[in-house]
């Protein structure tokens, strides 16, 4: 695991030096603007608007980082051939892959945590106080982070066997499909015959169900999130992520470099 940590730490350093965390400036400006504007246009629902806007921004910014940097984790190393010297060291390919994965997860964790602090600051600016129920925002942020971790794993998987462009398309496609996976499972279609419907439902169980991680609505309205749901979502992300990473490692271990 020492090799995994070494690669992860370097991946994090790369993100910092390549100014990935500069997106925080954009987030800070967005939150400041929102805090000023919301105070003027909404009465009584300021905190709800700020929480919704903040969590959506955390999710969207994280999504962009997870997809675009996630796809580049391996493909950039192959294109620039920085990987050659590294794989000549006593490093297993799966160690490299896991290191890159955890490096980006570290980056996303720092980024998401900083944005969460920004969100709380905006909330405090609007309400001039923080209540106990505001702690649920942290749970929502945690679940967003879990979703991003899964997306990084998917981006890594696709970048192991296809071009960066296609890997971005596939990851984005799976994300969109995954958002509707829950709806597909409960769909009661009148016009579709039984066999395609079963197939569709089967596919929906293979897709990552990103609805598991969406508690934004509840949290924005000050409602709590059941502990069981958080535990279930964590277990789901760990198991699904492990399977995706195992697949990525299996493909990458036999991949011919250029």
């Amino acid at each position: 695991m020492k090799n995994v940590w070494t690669v992860a730490a370097n991946t994090f350093r790369e993100a910092v030096r390549d100014r990935v965390l500069y997106n925080l400036v954009f987030f800070a400006l967005l939150m400041m603007g929102a805090a000023i504007l919301v105070g003027q246009i909404s009465i009584g629902i300021e905190d709800s608007v700020i929480v919704s806007l903040g969590l959506t921004a955390i999710s969207v910014i994280g999504l962009f980082i997870a997809v675009f940097i996630g796809v580049g984790l391996v493909s950039k190393e192959m294109d620039k051939r920085t990987l050659y010297a590294l794989l000549a060291k006593p490093v297993e390919r799966w160690e490299f892959l896991l290191g890159k994965f955890f490096g980006l997860v570290m980056t996303l964790t720092v980024n998401t945590a900083a944005m969460a602090v920004g969100l709380y600051l905006a909330l405090w600016t609007v309400k001039h106080t923080l209540e106990r129920s505001d702690a649920w925002v942290l749970v929502a942020v945690y679940l967003i982070l879990l979703k991003l971790v899964l997306i990084v794993a998917l981006a890594l998987l696709f970048s192991c066997f296809t071009t960066p462009f296609l890997a971005i398309l596939f990851t984005a496609g799976i994300y969109v499909a995954g958002v509707f996976a829950g709806a597909l499972r409960t769909m009661q279609a009148v016009d579709i015959s039984a066999r395609p419907m079963t197939l569709l439902k089967g596919i929906s169980y293979l897709l990552p169900n990103f609805e598991n991680f969406n508690v934004m609505g509840a949290v924005a309205h000050g409602r709590g999130v059941p502990g069981a749901l958080v535990g279930q979502a964590t277990l789901y992300a760990v198991c699904y992520g492990a399977v995706v990473l195992a697949g990525a490692a299996a493909i990458f271990s036999r991949r011919n470099l250029k």
Binding site: T82, Y84, L257
Partner: protein, 317 residues
């Protein structure tokens, strides 16, 4: 019998190409060879001959379609054997957001060195490859030659038993090439095995105990540079200066460069030629044997290969 440093048996590699990758191009065909421990082995061949393919196969960057290879007696599938190997990729590129010292420290971590040991070795290597003064500059500002030096430093940082260098002289100025040659000779002196690919034949002649010539993915010969070109002398060459206006029959055969004349004879005629020159008060600058060079040998092989390829094309086989 001692275990060879590198042992390759029937290694072959095909690359798919064309629509749906249905066609295959042979990049390496049935390569078998060995590099003995402590030897400097030069891999020669024109571009596309299969030198880099062989090296990448040894480093498991690509996978063979057939055959096996062992380094220091261990299968190349065994990642642990990489502890004893140093590798310089062709036209190396490293993380450009790191400085030279940081990139070397990063690679050293995979060899389980302590922080103090890493620091000392990184310093030593930077000095050795002449990057001591540029160690705090990010690699994105480095020239090609400087990157080549970083590549060499990371390859020998952990004092490996076997050093594999893919075109180590590429991108270097004459001074840099000289330094790399010195490093290779130093590695040899320390008892390490060096395999390097090159198409600069003078480097191979100067450094190698053995050379292997690859052309069109096939190994065309292995031996000492002398064996490869043949040791038979083709004649003698005399370099001399003679006063203007002197009548000498051999001047008709000589080539003039500035004040100097160069003339070639069969070996048995050299003494009579020297007598003539002495009689004419010529100043003899050198008398040297004419041997075929590795370059001539190499060019003959490449031309023969091209002729064969053309013949196959014409006959439609």
């Amino acid at each position: 019998m001692a275990t060879p440093a590198i042992e390759i048996e029937h290694l072959s590699k095909e690359y798919p190409y064309g629509f749906l990758n249905l066609k295959k191009k042979k990049s390496l065909e049935d390569l078998s060879m060995r590099v003995e421990s402590g030897e400097v082995f030069g891999f020669l061949g024109p571009n596309g001959a299969g030198k880099s393919t062989t090296i990448k196969l040894l480093m498991r960057l690509i996978f063979p379609n057939g055959g096996t290879a062992r380094i220091l007696g261990k299968s190349i599938d065994d990642v642990s054997m990489h502890r004893e190997i140093g590798y310089l990729p062709e036209q190396p590129y490293f993380y450009d957001y790191l400085t030279a010292a940081e990139v070397l420290d990063y690679f050293a971590r995979f060899h389980g060195l302590t922080a103090a040991d890493r620091k000392a070795r990184v310093q030593k290597m930077l000095k050795k490859v002449g990057l001591d003064t540029a160690k705090r500059i990010q690699l994105r500002k480095y020239s090609k030659g400087m990157l080549q030096r970083v590549g060499l430093a990371q390859a020998i940082l952990h004092e490996p038993q076997v050093v594999i260098l893919d075109e180590p002289m590429s991108g270097l100025d004459p001074l840099g090439r000289r330094e790399v040659r010195d490093i290779i000779l130093e590695l040899k002196k320390d008892g390490r095995t060096v395999l390097f690919s090159t198409h600069i034949l003078s480097d191979a002649e100067m450094l190698c105990d053995q050379v292997g010539v690859l052309v069109g993915g096939k190994l065309r010969g292995v031996g000492t540079p002398g064996e490869m070109v043949g040791i038979k002398t083709q004649g003698m060459e005399i370099l001399f200066e003679v006063a203007e206006g002197k009548k000498l029959p051999l001047l008709a055969k000589a080539t003039r460069t500035g004040e100097r004349y160069r003339v070639q004879f069969p070996e048995e005629e050299v003494y009579s030629a020297l007598d003539q020159l002495k009689a004419a008060d010529a100043r003899i600058l050198s008398v040297a044997q004419i041997k075929p060079t590795l370059e001539e040998f190499f060019m003959n092989l490449v031309e023969a290969d091209r002729a064969q390829a053309n013949a196959v094309e014409v006959s439609g086989k």
